[in-house]
């Protein structure tokens, strides 16, 4: 037995050495934004809560209505779901009199996919059903690949991917930034129909510049707000007074950045947007996995080698005992 224990220790030592030298634990950094990334800028202070975006989203994505009133007359979704990809939620406080006021006020928030730069859903999906386009950065869903495990639903820090629990042949539903309309020369329907430019479509770098411009405005200062597509200027801008913006662009840094940027006058956490670290959870998880399994499975194979060697010794011992008995 002492011999075998020594063998075991030898094997363990070999494995340990590999662990120390073979796995440099090189951290997987956050992924970076594609140069031509497309996205949205949602400005809560411009939103009037008309929900034209909710209606247009339903129409272009062929999603069924969802009822929350006893009459069941209108599509009235309360949250995104297997039937709804985009909703406008309202924050209310006190007497709800003043727009964009944290106390005794109200404010709107758009809830839909933020198209993360380094998405948890893409990292979590075991079958490449969640894909991030290398050029546009749009996070899209391939239903034909999906196995319905719902790891993406659980993993998303924004709770965006949803599942159809009421169907025998279900799928995941999430905003895909109207990627199916791009070949027709169209863009995201929510931005196209937004009457105030609260939801603005375009290249993220231009949307980011626009967001920075707005944050720098003096409250009450009159300025032009573009509508529709910021790059093609397909719609006329309108003049309005700048709100008292928070000095924060949500989505600039959160979990490594998102392609949907948000502006608000009411703290984002009050509007249901969580406070998040800059390091993406996908990077943390993949760094851990690559440390254990990276370098072409060096670590598991080394352990397998050690285990095989030890097992061979010990099983052989058994066989000898068998033979002795005979």
């Amino acid at each position: 037995m002492s011999i075998n224990r020594r063998d075991f220790l030898k094997g363990a030592l070999a494995g340990g050495t590999l662990l120390a030298t073979g796995a440099p634990a090189e951290a997987r950094p956050n992924l970076t934004m594609p140069e031509e990334a497309l996205g949205l800028l949602y400005d809560s202070t411009l939103c009037i809560g008309c929900k034209a975006c909710v209606s247009a989203c339903k129409e272009v994505n062929n999603m069924p209505p969802e009822f929350s009133t006893p009459e069941q007359l209108w599509d009235t979704p309360l949250d995104i779901s297997g039937k709804t990809l985009n909703v406008i939620k309202v924050y209310q406080d006190g007497n709800s009199e003043t727009k964009d006021s944290e106390t005794d006020g109200f404010a709107f928030m758009k809830v839909s996919c933020l198209h993360c730069v380094d998405p948890s859903c893409v990292s979590a999906c075991p079958v490449s059903a969640m894909i991030k386009d290398p050029v546009t950065g749009i996070v899209s869903y391939n239903v034909d690949a999906c196995i319905g495990c719902r790891y993406c639903v659980a993993a998303c820090p924004f709770g965006v991917p949803r599942f159809q629990y009421d169907k025998a042949i279900p799928q995941i539903s999430k905003c895909q930034l109207c990627v199916h309309r791009l070949p027709e020369g169209k863009y995201a329907a929510c931005a196209e129909v937004c009457p105030t430019g609260a939801t603005l479509y375009g290249k993220v770098k231009d949307l980011h510049a626009e967001a920075q411009r707005r944050v720098a405005l003096k409250p009450g200062e009159a300025t032009l707000f573009p509508r529709g597509n910021i790059n093609t200027h397909d719609q006329s801008p309108h003049t309005a007074k700048a709100a008292k913006y928070l000095p924060q662009i949500y989505g600039e840094k959160e979990v490594g950045g998102t392609q949907m940027l948000k502006l608000s006058a009411v703290p984002f956490e009050k509007l249901g947007m969580p406070k998040l670290p800059e390091r993406s959870y996908a990077a943390t998880s993949e760094t851990m996995q690559h440390t254990l399994y990276g370098n072409a499975l060096v670590l598991p194979l080394a352990f397998l080698g050690a285990l095989t060697y030890i097992a061979k010794r010990n099983v052989k011992h058994d066989d000898d005992a068998d033979d002795e008995k005979k």
């Binding site: 037995m1 075998n4 224990r5 075991f8 779901s81 948890s120 990292s123 979590a124 999906c125 075991p126 079958v127 490449s128 034909d144 690949a145 999906c146 196995i147 319905g148 495990c149 719902r150 790891y151 639903v153 659980a154 993993a155 820090p157 709770g159 949803r162 599942f163 159809q164 629990y165 009421d166 169907k167 025998a168 042949i169 279900p170 249901g272 969580p274 998040l276 959870y281 996908a282 943390t284 998880s285 851990m288 996995q289 254990l292 399994y293 598991p300 352990f303 397998l304 285990l307 095989t308 030890i310 097992a311 061979k312 010990n314 099983v315 011992h317 058994d318 066989d319 005992a321 068998d322």
Partner: protein, 391 residues
């Protein structure tokens, strides 16, 4: 699995399969079958309470995550016998392996019940679809491989029954490779079942979210493996009216004791290093469950620390049960209690959801009873050896 040393060779128990116990078990399996039919016809929402806030219910957390941990007896004992060369535990290998085989095979089946688009499950293994950065990919591939390995590892029992001595001899020559795989694969996926939660980030309460989750899941899976062996030995000895191998169980419990002590030390050091110790005093269900979970880990430590208790079957049984319950709670707590994806979401399993999980356990017990009666699995006693000789 070659017999070793001077242990009595494994022998079938014989006896009737149709007893009140097995009939009740069969009825439970049938009920689960009907519920599953409804699930496949009308969707997961028709029978479960899962929702977008708690998209993984007990069919994942109990049937797969906990089910496979409870099926770690074969892994723990194989590690002890073949890697640490503790030949004296050899008689425990076959019964432990059988329970593991059932546990894992059913956990694999359970995955299919829970997958929304189950007909695509093969995508996980298919180049072009497979996504190796996903922890889920590692878990799926590794568990599947382990199920195959276990069936091969277990096949000598069938080969004994079928009298295929030549095949068995050839297989025995290669068995060490299978055994090595049988100890490597569970180490990989049992730890990965913890790693699955890392990508959830802030959604997991700091009492559980940690980069050491893979290590915690691995250590507790091993400890649970030993506890399950003790638990099953006690049950099968009273159920089949066989003598209990106390000398082995007592020694096994000592291994478990050290395992537990190491786990608890690491667990609390990790909490301290991450500055999360304070969270256990924040009133709420999370802190309450944390206390219960860790009390159940500490209880067997206290019981087993006493050498006298390690020789007492009743105390061993209680310690093993506590440890299993503790491992159960660690998994429930990290996946469900400590998970919070936003306000307004609630989950508690529905009756039909629970009945399916119960049906799975029933199928497992039923299969175990059937196989030990017909195949040489449990170590033969003088009485059963005599029966075998008379045949």
């Amino acid at each position: 699995m070659s017999a070793s040393h001077n242990h009595p060779a494994p022998a079938p128990l014989g006896g009737s399969l149709w007893t009140p116990t097995t009939m009740i078990l069969a009825a439970l399996v049938a009920i689960a079958g009907v519920i599953l039919l409804v699930r496949f016809l009308f969707g997961l929402g028709a029978v479960t309470n899962i929702n977008d806030g708690y998209t993984w219910g007990i069919w994942v957390v109990y049937d797969v995550v906990i089910g496979s941990a409870f099926a770690c007896g074969g892994y723990s004992v194989a590690l002890l016998v073949y890697i640490f060369n503790k030949g004296e535990y050899h008689p425990m290998v076959r019964p432990a392996l059988l329970a593991s085989l059932f546990g894992y095979t059913l956990a694999g089946a359970g995955v299919i019940f829970d997958l929304g688009r189950y007909w695509n499950f093969w995508h996980i293994f298919w180049p072009g679809y497979a996504q190796p950065n996903s922890v889920m990919f590692e878990v799926a591939v590794c568990i599947t491989a382990y199920i195959v390995v276990m069936w091969i590892e277990f096949s000598p029992a069938f080969l004994d029954k079928l009298g295929m001595k030549d095949v068995k001899k050839k297989l025995n020559k290669l068995l060490f490779v299978i055994i090595a795989l049988g100890t490597l694969l569970p180490s990989m996926h049992q730890s990965s079942l913890g790693s699955l939660l890392v990508v959830y980030g802030y959604q997991i309460n700091p009492l559980w979210q940690s980069l050491l989750l893979p290590l915690f899941y691995l250590m507790t899976a091993l400890a649970i493996g030993f506890a399950v062996v003790i638990f099953e030995a006690c049950l099968s000895s009273s159920g089949f009216k066989r003598p209990l191998e106390m000398h082995l169980l007592g020694k096994l419990s000592k291994v478990m004791l050290w395992m537990l002590a190491a786990y608890l030390a690491l667990r609390f050091v990790d909490l301290a290093v991450r500055g999360a110790l304070g969270n256990m005093f924040v009133p709420g269900i999370e802190a309450l469950m944390f206390w219960i979970e860790n009390a159940l880990f500490i209880a067997p430590l206290v019981i087993l620390a006493n050498a006298q208790s390690r020789r007492n079957p009743a105390k061993l049984f209680i310690a093993a049960s506590c440890l299993m319950l503790a491992g159960f709670l660690l998994r429930i707590d990290s996946y469900l209690v400590g998970y919070e994806t936003g306000p307004g979401w609630h989950y508690f399993p529905s009756v039909s959801e629970i009945m399916v999980s119960i049906g799975m356990i029933a199928a497992e017990v039923l299969g175990y009873i059937a196989l030990v009666r017909y195949l040489p699995i449990l170590p033969g006693t003088n009485e059963t050896s005599a029966v075998a000789a008379n045949k």
